[in-house]
């Protein structure tokens, strides 16, 4: 639990190797005033910047940040943090959470529905 915010990670609990994993981080402003917020994360050593977007969130409101990454061939622990801009103009981390995403192997390759046309050139 953060001092000013609570975050919720919305991501699948498993993902197929090589596929894009969509990550949503919902940030709830539990403070009494507006907060200038942003989100960062990390998955398998790759920084998630959520579009480098910061925005003002009113008290009691929730705002969402989105990013994605390619699922590697191993399980991943996805971390995300909310950040707020303080009166001194600096950014400070607030709430942080993680979610485990298990890898699943893709189905074996299959090919089908071969259809052709041809013409003289």
């Amino acid at each position: 639990m953060g001092q000013y915010t609570d975050i919720t990670i919305v991501a699948p609990s498993s993902a197929e190797v090589g596929t894009s994993v969509s990550v949503q981080v919902r940030v709830y402003n539990k403070w009494t005033g507006q907060l200038h917020l942003t989100v960062t994360g990390i998955a398998d050593g790759i920084d998630l910047l959520f579009g480098n977007v910061s925005r003002w969130v009113s008290p009691g409101q929730t705002s969402s940040w989105y990013d994605n990454f390619i699922m590697p061939s191993k399980d991943v622990r996805l971390y995300a943090w909310s950040w707020f801009e303080a009166a001194d103009g600096k950014w400070y981390p607030d709430d942080g959470k993680y979610q485990d995403i298990d890898k699943t192997e893709p189905a074996p390759a299959s090919f089908y529905d071969l259809v052709c046309s041809y013409r003289r050139v």
Partner: protein, 131 residues
């Protein structure tokens, strides 16, 4: 039906679907030949062309791919060329898991014909008299 003359090429446009794990080393082989009309219906290639080796990424859901393969210029008539006659086409997707995937064109859909010489008129002579 396609009328095939000496020096023509045939361009095949093939679509197929892939789903599942990434895979490489797949080739399309496009052939013109003769299909035996009785069992076993073997196909005897007379002209063929293979695509470059194809690779596919992981496709969690079915994804359609299109590849174009064009034969070299086909010799019709003469030594080593296609005899005049009717032929079929066959395309196979090779190097995939399991059996090759085949596509057969309609019977007798390609007619190979040697060039017909244009008629030549020569030696025009004219005589004239006072009438």
């Amino acid at each position: 039906m396609i009328e095939l003359r000496d020096g023509d090429r045939i361009r095949f446009t093939c679509t197929f679907k892939h789903q599942g794990a990434a895979y490489s080393g797949v080739k399309l082989r496009c052939s013109i030949g003769e299909k035996r009309t009785y069992f076993p219906y073997d196909f005897t290639e007379r002209v063929s062309k293979e695509s470059a080796s194809l690779s596919f990424p992981t496709d969690p859901t079915q994804k359609s791919y299109t590849e174009v393969v064009t034969t070299d210029a086909i010799k019709v008539g003469g030594i080593g060329g296609l005899e005049e006659g009717y032929y079929e086409v066959q395309v196979k997707l090779m190097g995939i898991p399991g059996d090759d995937l085949f596509w057969d064109g309609p019977n007798d859909d390609i007619h190979a014909a040697e060039e017909i010489e244009e008629p030549i008129f020569t030696n025009l002579e004219v005589a004239y008299t006072k009438a």
